[in-house]
């Protein structure tokens, strides 16, 4: 019983971290149908900025978090306007090629600017401790991540399903020329969405840094993990991404409790089964 | 001789009944049209007969064989060919190659791995012939992405013909084809073997009345009327739900 509750607790906590670093990718890849393998680079940028602000400039944690997200949003908006938007019409594989190249450059840049070291984000006191859950403890930081995850879910759901912006966004993705012909400013919609996705990436990079430490190779190291979550969740499906992250988090954790010798075997078998069952995403019937 | 027999076919999407107990039979060589209001379930019926959609209940016989459970490729193999209301061509493969592919499929050489495809001169000649008949020679080496929509519609028909059907289901083949060219399609259909049964879905009543020996009218998924063009033209209900004042044509 103790084991079971441990698996569940650790699994959900881990799953929430997975969610928060992946959901931005689901937005760009799913809603914009842009294969953005540079997602990790934006996450890294956000994390680095947060680390730098807290550590070197002495900003309070929350302020640094907000500023890091804003920095990523601005950076992404600029890059989208001058670079990325020209890729929307390209084939998926060209997008892959470009964003991988971009990621390489980002890695090299991080290495050049900050060295090959891990960047830590010192936690404020109110996040540093542990919370007691009966006979085991849980780091406060992860409780915070869970809360932030829930906020993100709610926010995204409102925007995508309920607002007109959501409709414009999906329309632009379905058929950009037609959307323009109806007077939808697809440039604005695309730029805003891309920047928003990058902002989410930055948030994930900064919040997830406890489990996925920031270092130059970050953008490639966790790419497959993010892709797994996003694909099992279904592209563009926020609730799907959440459920996929939680399910995979619990399964991975169970594997570590029960059969760690098999390494990532169970994680990938689980992913295969889930994808084979619902290739379009965990919430989508075919 | 009956080539296609459809019995008590049903289909619903969620709560919406789209095919409602449809029964009809088609004889060899018959030329039939299916008409009916938009959303009556014509395309759905074609999808069911072609095997793209599973029916909720009912039976389909092809040349006396029960094919209800067959996957669509098997039905195609037995001569049941359909076209699509909205073009489904490979956008970047030249028309000639697409027709050649259909012929390769028909004669079983599609899986050949060792001979150069250009060495199949008979196939290529046949493909060129089919395209020429539809006056498509000028775009034979173009890919659909760079063709006018009307030409794409004709290529679609060329593909169906290349498969040498026994039963041919054409879902609005003339949509997007100008009148002048529509005649080409009709001519091409005229040249088909006499024992080929053709079903055409079409909203252009001129073409329907020019082509069909028999008309099936669908409304709300059910058969509203089934008869000769003259009978249909005179049918008051059909006139009300579908034809409108055009019935004077």
């Amino acid at each position: 019983m103790q084991l079971f509750s441990n698996i569940l607790i650790d699994g959900i906590v881990y799953g929430m971290v997975l969610f928060i670093i992946s959901v931005g990718l689901s937005v760009t890849m799913g809603l914009m149908r842009f294969i953005n393998l540079a997602h990790g680079a934006f996450a890294m940028a956000g994390g680095y900025v947060a680390a730098w602000l807290v550590r070197e400039e002495g900003y309070p944690f929350l302020a640094a978090l907000v500023l890091a997200v804003l920095a990523a949003v601005v950076l992404a908006a600029l890059l989208e306007t001058f670079v990325f938007r020209f890729l929307y019409k390209r084939t998926e594989l060209e997008q892959v090629l470009f964003t991988i190249g971009f990621t390489f450059a980002a890695i090299a840049l991080a290495n050049l600017l900050a060295g090959p070291y891990i960047q830590l984000i010192p936690l404020p006191e109110w996040l540093d401790g542990s919370m007691s859950l009966g006979d085991r403890t849980l780091p406060t930081q992860r409780v915070f991540v869970i809360l932030m995850g829930l906020v993100v879910v709610l926010l995204l759901w409102l925007i995508i399903a309920k607002t007109r912006f959501g409709i414009w966004l999906r329309a632009s993705v379905d058929n950009a020329p037609m959307s323009s012909s109806l007077g939808i400013n697809i440039r604005l919609v695309q730029c805003a969405t891309f920047a928003f996705g990058a902002g989410l990436a930055a948030l994930g990079g900064a919040l997830g840094a406890e489990l996925m430490p920031l270092e130059p190779y970050y953008p490639l190291k966790y790419l497959v993990l993010m892709l797994v979550v996003v694909s099992v969740g279904g592209l563009g499906s926020v609730s799907g991404t959440l459920i996929a992250a939680l399910v995979l988090g619990v399964i991975d954790t169970a594997g570590r409790y029960l059969a760690s010798d098999f390494g990532t075997f169970f994680f990938y078998v689980a992913m295969i089964l889930l994808l084979a069952w619902r290739p379009e995403g965990i919430l989508r019937r075919h | 001789m009956t080539v296609l027999q459809v019995e008590h076919l049903n289909k619903a999407f969620g709560g919406l009944t789209v095919t409602d107990d449809v029964t009809f039979a088609l004889s060899a060589g018959e030329r039939m049209a299916i008409i009916g209001p938009n959303g009556a379930g014509k395309t759905t019926l074609v999808n069911q007969i072609g095997g793209v959609l599973r029916s909720d209940s009912g039976r389909i016989h092809l040349n006396g064989v029960n094919v209800t459970e067959w996957p669509s490729h098997r039905r195609v193999g037995h001569g049941l060919i359909r076209t699509f209301q909205i073009s489904r061509l490979a956008p970047d493969i030249p028309a000639l190659d697409q027709v050649a592919l259909a012929i390769h499929q028909r004669d079983g050489s599609i899986g050949h791995m060792w001979r150069n495809k250009n060495a199949y001169t008979a196939v290529i000649e046949e493909a060129e012939h089919i395209l020429a008949d539809l006056q498509l020679s000028r775009v034979a080496r173009h890919s659909p992405a760079e063709m006018a929509y009307g030409d794409q519609r004709l290529v679609e028909i060329a593909l169906a013909l290349a498969l040498k059907p026994k039963v041919l289901l054409l879902d609005e083949p003339m949509a997007g084809v100008p009148r002048s060219e529509a005649q080409l399609v009709l001519d091409a259909l005229d040249k088909l073997p006499a024992d080929l049964a053709v079903v055409i879905i079409e909203h252009d009543m001129d073409l329907v009345f020019r082509f069909a020996q028999r008309i099936l009218v669908l409304a709300n998924g059910a058969v509203l009327a089934d008869g000769t063009p003259d009978e249909i033209r005179r049918n008051e209900v059909v006139r009300q739900v579908y034809l409108g004042s055009e019935a004077q044509v």
Partner: protein, 365 residues
């Protein structure tokens, strides 16, 4: 006449920090010697290996030997990479100094391989003995699931059970684990008094130590028995979480000796952010070995003579006294028990016990 030394290491990719450590270690030694060994100019040619990538590394080594005509090879972080160059080294008689790769089975692969790092057996056997001496009866091993980890696990189990202790559980943790809480919980539940760990540096070590603290293993009094985890490259990142953790290792930047102080001085002169740890000291000593070989051959390319010259060679390394074992060509050296302590602003590995000169127990079996 210049003597050319080819250094193969990961200068890009996820392990790029090793490359920098190699470079700083090697060049600081060279600078210290005024750029010359025994009067011969030395030219270092670097080649990027990326991660474990034997075929790429073999290509790189072949080009260094055939087209760059290097006299010596050095570097190499990963065991499979070392395995891949062994036949080439053998055939071309190129003396090659392994700065890092730590599997026992490497040096027997060619007569021209020398190693200035350590092996997992070498540092694990002493700590197993020490645990036994402390009266610890039950230990759980938790190692990263790859070759050095498995080596460490085997070494610990063999020695500890030989002495009559019990290894109650052996956990192998996948290399790409991000969340170590489950392992910490399992260790806690196993009822062991201590945990022997092996983790590669960087994220895994940080993650494991965090989990060790957050899940209350420290409070439960479960002793941490490590090897390379507290390496200076990551040490400051741990913060107070690392205080009191014990590791058995061959080098601590806090080692109190003149040789080490000189090493540190050379490193500071080399680069402001140069860092002394096992990899940079491996490179530094590796260059010292090459220096010896250049001296013995007077700058000529003579692999056999060079290797003969360093068999049994003894010197004072920054880590303490060191000797090249004439049979295995592996370094025999002191292994120390260290504990993490705070020294002013920074954390250091204070040597609290010297286990004395240790051979590679993996090969001496």
């Amino acid at each position: 006449d210049t003597v050319k030394v080819g250094i193969i290491g990961p200068f890009s990719g996820p392990f790029a920090h090793y490359g920098k450590l190699f470079k700083d270690g090697a060049e600081s030694y060279l600078k210290q010697q005024g750029g010359k060994f025994a009067g011969h100019d030395i030219e270092i040619i670097y080649r990027d290996s990326g991660g474990p990538n034997p075929s790429g590394v073999k290509t790189a080594a072949q080009e260094l030997i055939v087209s760059d005509r290097v006299d010596y090879l050095g570097g190499i972080v990963f065991t499979p990479n070392a395995m891949a160059v062994a036949p080439l080294v053998q055939e071309s008689k190129t003396p090659t100094v392994i700065f890092n790769a730590a599997t026992s089975s490497i040096t027997p692969k060619s007569d021209y391989l020398v190693r200035t790092s350590y092996t997992l057996w070498q540092v694990t056997v002493p700590i197993a003995r020490w645990a036994h001496e402390q009266g610890i009866k039950k230990v759980v091993t938790a190692v990263s699931d790859y070759a050095p980890g498995v080596d460490g696990e085997t070494a610990f189990k063999e020695e500890f059970t030989r002495l009559g202790g019990e290894v109650v559980e052996s956990i192998r943790m996948p290399l790409n684990t991000n969340d170590f809480s489950p392992f910490a919980q399992r260790i806690k539940a196993s009822g062991a008094e201590a945990v022997y760990v092996f983790l590669p540096g960087g994220p895994p070590s940080l993650g494991f130590v965090n989990a060790y603290n957050e899940n209350g293993l420290r409070e439960a009094g479960i002793e941490f028995l490590g090897t390379a985890e507290m390496d200076e490259f990551d040490l400051q990142k741990f913060g107070d979480a690392a205080l009191g953790l014990k590791t058995a290792f061959h080098y601590s930047a806090a080692h109190d000796s003149d040789a080490n102080r000189e090493f540190k001085k050379a490193m500071k002169a080399q680069a402001a952010d140069a860092l002394e740890n096992y990899a940079s000291v491996g490179a530094y000593d590796g260059m010292h070995i090459i220096h010896k070989m250049v001296e013995a051959t007077d700058g000529k390319k003579d692999g056999d003579k060079a290797i003969e010259a360093i068999k049994g060679y003894e010197w004072e390394s920054p880590r303490g006294p060191a000797k090249i074992d004439p049979e295995t060509r592996h370094i025999t050296q002191n292994v120390y028990l260290r504990e993490v302590e705070r020294d002013g602003d920074i954390l250091v590995n204070t040597e609290i016990e010297n286990f004395g000169m240790q051979p590679d127990h993996g090969l001496k079996k």
